[in-house]
């Protein structure tokens, strides 16, 4: 193996591993949380936004969609009950994707929820919806539940059924890291024996998919994708069951890794394209050239929730110019800084900070959250692990304060974190050079 040339080594690498487990996990958590919060925030307005009787009525949506074939489950029926069901399922699937329960399956349902609602009322969205839309599709192809997920925890337990928590160090670099499989079908492999939920979910969804197929609502592309996913889950389950280390299982693993790595790459490219487009088009604008651009959005009624703050921020011409030029420079430069880890991290911090400011000052919280979630794909692994440990510690501290009784109800604490066990961690070079 050592004599492998670089190409072969690269191929082995992308077939053997699903790269960037922490990055994909944080992207998953970020987008699931953004969409979940958005849906909850719009709960009182859901019917006006997406309901069959909203201003953009079901009938009008149908006329538009018949021209462009966008995917939306909301077009399958104009009933109000159906709408409520879809909205509810969108909430549930985002919550479950967030905690990483049957992650792959939830990522598909999450995508269905996002596309259904957004495509139903295309004129309600903004840039934030747009980025969620794209990432929801890309996430389907990733193994985004390798860490920081209920799946990872379940798999770790199935693999290591020892009772004390003492010797986890031996579990590999860090236990959950090792959870490379897709766990939806059968998390535990042979160790846990019977996972009932996975197969049940598989059958239920297969049945639902059959019904939808029978109704003829899906175009060939979606049929292929959904049935393909379904069959792949079945194969995976069978392969794991028959021979956990068999050829079939390894081959499926290779395919899943390839898809994951490709999707991860596409997610990163997409983020770069967003910044590049935003930056390069700005350069052409006279307001970005004369250094006043940042002043104007803050004067628009629709983007100035805090007029006093906006006035304060724009009271100094030089400051406005610096921010204006800085914004363009950062956006244009970002893709190129990926070649240098240190510079990239600095710019990343700047951009995340700027989005946090935009969230408040321009009144675009969900747009900003979505952009920060997209940025997160470039965060260094070391930072993410530190973040994970910090969250885990905080959680434990909080749980320690909660009386025993309620603690038992929270099964071993909330999911997000399965990590903090890196006693045996090899020094890790971050993600990104």
């Amino acid at each position: 193996m050592i004599s492998f040339d670089p190409l072969a080594r690269g191929v082995q690498r992308v077939t053997a591993q699903a790269l960037g487990p922490y990055q994909t996990a944080v992207v998953r958590i970020g987008f699931a949380a953004t969409w979940l919060l958005f849906l909850l925030r719009e709960l009182p307005h859901r019917r006006e936004l997406y309901g069959p009787d909203g201003p953009w009525s079901w009938d009008m949506a149908r006329q538009l969609i018949s021209a462009n074939d966008a995917f939306t489950a909301l077009m399958w029926s104009d009933g109000r009950l159906w709408f409520e069901i879809v909205y509810f399922l969108a909430i549930v699937s985002s919550a479950l994707l967030l905690v990483g329960w049957r992650t792959r399956t939830m990522s598909v349902l999450f995508m269905i929820g996002v596309l259904s609602l957004q495509n139903r009322s295309i004129f309600m969205g903004d840039g934030g919806d747009n980025v969620i839309h794209l990432m929801a599709i890309y996430l389907v192809f990733t193994r985004c539940g390798q860490v920081w997920s209920l799946d990872a925890r379940r798999a770790a337990r199935a693999r290591a059924p020892q009772h004390d928590h003492g010797d986890r160090g031996s579990l590999g670099a860090d236990g959950s890291r090792a959870v490379d499989d897709d766990l939806h079908a059968d998390g535990g492999g042979r160790v846990g024996g019977g996972d009932r939920v996975g197969p049940a979910l598989w059958w239920v969804l297969g049945l639902a998919l059959s019904v939808v197929t029978f109704l003829g609502e899906l175009s060939w592309f979606w049929l292929l994708l959904f049935w393909g996913m379904w069959v792949a889950h079945g194969l995976w389950w069978a392969a794991v069951r028959r021979a956990p280390d068999g050829e079939a299982r390894v081959l499926l693993d290779v395919v899943a890794n390839l898809a994951h790595n490709a999707a991860l790459l596409v997610i990163m490219v997409e983020a770069c394209l967003i910044y590049a487009t935003a930056g390069w088009y700005k350069i052409q604008g006279s307001r970005w050239q004369d250094g006043t651009a940042v002043y104007y959005p803050l004067q628009l009624d629709y983007f100035s929730p805090w007029p006093e703050l906006a006035d304060l921020l724009t009271s100094h011409g030089v400051l406005v110019m610096l921010v204006t030029y800085g914004t363009v420079a950062v956006q244009v430069a970002f893709p190129f800084t990926l070649f240098n880890r240190r510079v990239k991290n600095v710019l990343l911090a700047v951009m995340i900070f700027e989005h946090a400011v935009i969230a408040v000052v321009l009144g675009l919280p969900f747009f900003s959250l979505a952009m920060i979630a997209a940025d997160a794909v470039f965060l260094p692994t070391s930072f993410l692990r530190r973040l994970g440990r910090w969250v885990a510690r905080t959680r434990e501290r909080l749980l320690a304060r909660v009386p025993r009784l309620s603690r038992a109800e929270v099964p071993q604490g909330p999911p997000g974190e399965e990590q903090p066990r890196d006693a045996a961690e090899p020094a890790r070079v971050g993600f990104g050079a």
Partner: protein, 309 residues
């Protein structure tokens, strides 16, 4: 009917008519991956063994070091990756790899051409690009670019209401955008109904109507209906109808005011608002959104069926 005209899920703050001059658009796609993906840390050879703590056939793996043996099962380097496969499976894996690589290249290229300014390639293959991109991968990242919007557009509405005794009354003008603005003020979480609905609906209307306010095609008609439904929904909240009353007609106008240049600038602009007044539109029962407004719907129906002629 044709794809070019699909609507943006994205912010439409920027104009579509971007100057064509930039061949300077960066080659983002290639830049990204190399920098980060490839360089990611070796994921610990130990980890790789994870799924397969196999007793069976310890095949050599490409991941460099032999995995530290898992404590509980006493053995086995990982059996993962293409190197662990038999010849036949390797062929399958290679095929999959080829398909994946091709798909990624095509997709990234298509998205690039979609977001880049119109250029030699996209002029030639615009159709192909659109076929790939629409409807699900459409995107628009001209966020506040090339120039941020520099005017406040206020959409205002008034209605003629037919009263129970057969006469009519005309309401005052309601500034719906001002209401949106007030709702957004000091709001940490503005709703899409406040920030996007009317703003983007009006953009849609403007982009599908000519200067004489005549609709251009199906989309124009859809946008008229959309605006009508939107304003009626709002009106109904402010003009509760008495028994027997019904909306007869509505009129919409927009009032566009340029944002004044900053005080530290010596620029002077004309601050006079520009009005665009649409003709009166008759209201039909189908124009009343949300079933909550059942009563209004019924009222219109009654009026139209000759209850009060």
């Amino acid at each position: 009917m044709d794809r070019h005209d699909k609507d943006v899920g994205g912010e439409s703050a920027g104009s579509d008519a971007a100057p064509t001059g930039s061949d300077a658009v960066p080659t983002g796609p290639d830049a990204a991956p190399t920098g980060s993906g490839a360089a990611s840390a070796p994921t610990g050879s130990a980890a790789a063994s994870a799924s397969a703590d196999s007793g069976a056939a310890p095949a050599p793996t490409g991941s460099a070091a032999p995995a530290p043996a898992p404590a509980d099962s006493g053995a086995a380097p990982a059996r993962t990756g293409i190197a662990a496969l038999s010849r036949r499976s390797q062929v399958v894996a290679a095929l999959v790899l080829a398909v994946v690589v091709a798909t990624v290249c095509v997709h990234v290229g298509m998205v690039f051409l979609h977001v880049a300014p119109s250029n030699t390639v996209s002029k030639e293959h615009g159709r192909t690009v659109d076929d790939w991109i629409y409807p699900e991968f459409e995107q628009n990242w001209k966020l506040f670019a090339p120039n941020p919007l520099q005017q406040n557009v206020a959409v205002q509405v008034r209605a003629q209401i037919r009263t129970a005794d057969g006469t009519g009354r005309t309401t005052r003008w309601y500034d719906l955008s001002a209401q949106d603005g007030a709702a957004i003020d000091h709001n940490l979480l503005p709703s899409h109904t406040q920030q996007n609905e009317l703003r983007r609906g009006w953009d849609f209307f403007v982009s599908t109507h000519d200067a004489q306010n005549r609709p251009t095609g199906l989309r124009g008609e859809l946008s008229e209906r959309y605006i009508r439904r939107m304003v009626l929904l709002r009106l109904h909240r402010h003009e509760p109808l008495a028994r027997g009353e019904a909306f007869d007609q509505v009129q919409v106008r927009s009032r566009t005011t340029a944002v004044q240049p900053p005080e530290w600038s010596d620029e002077k602009i004309n601050g006079k608002p520009v009005l665009r007044v649409l003709p009166w539109w008759s209201v039909t029962p189908g124009d009343l959104p949300l079933a909550g407004e059942d009563r209004a719907r019924r009222d219109v129906a009654v009026a139209q069926n000759g209850g009060v002629r």
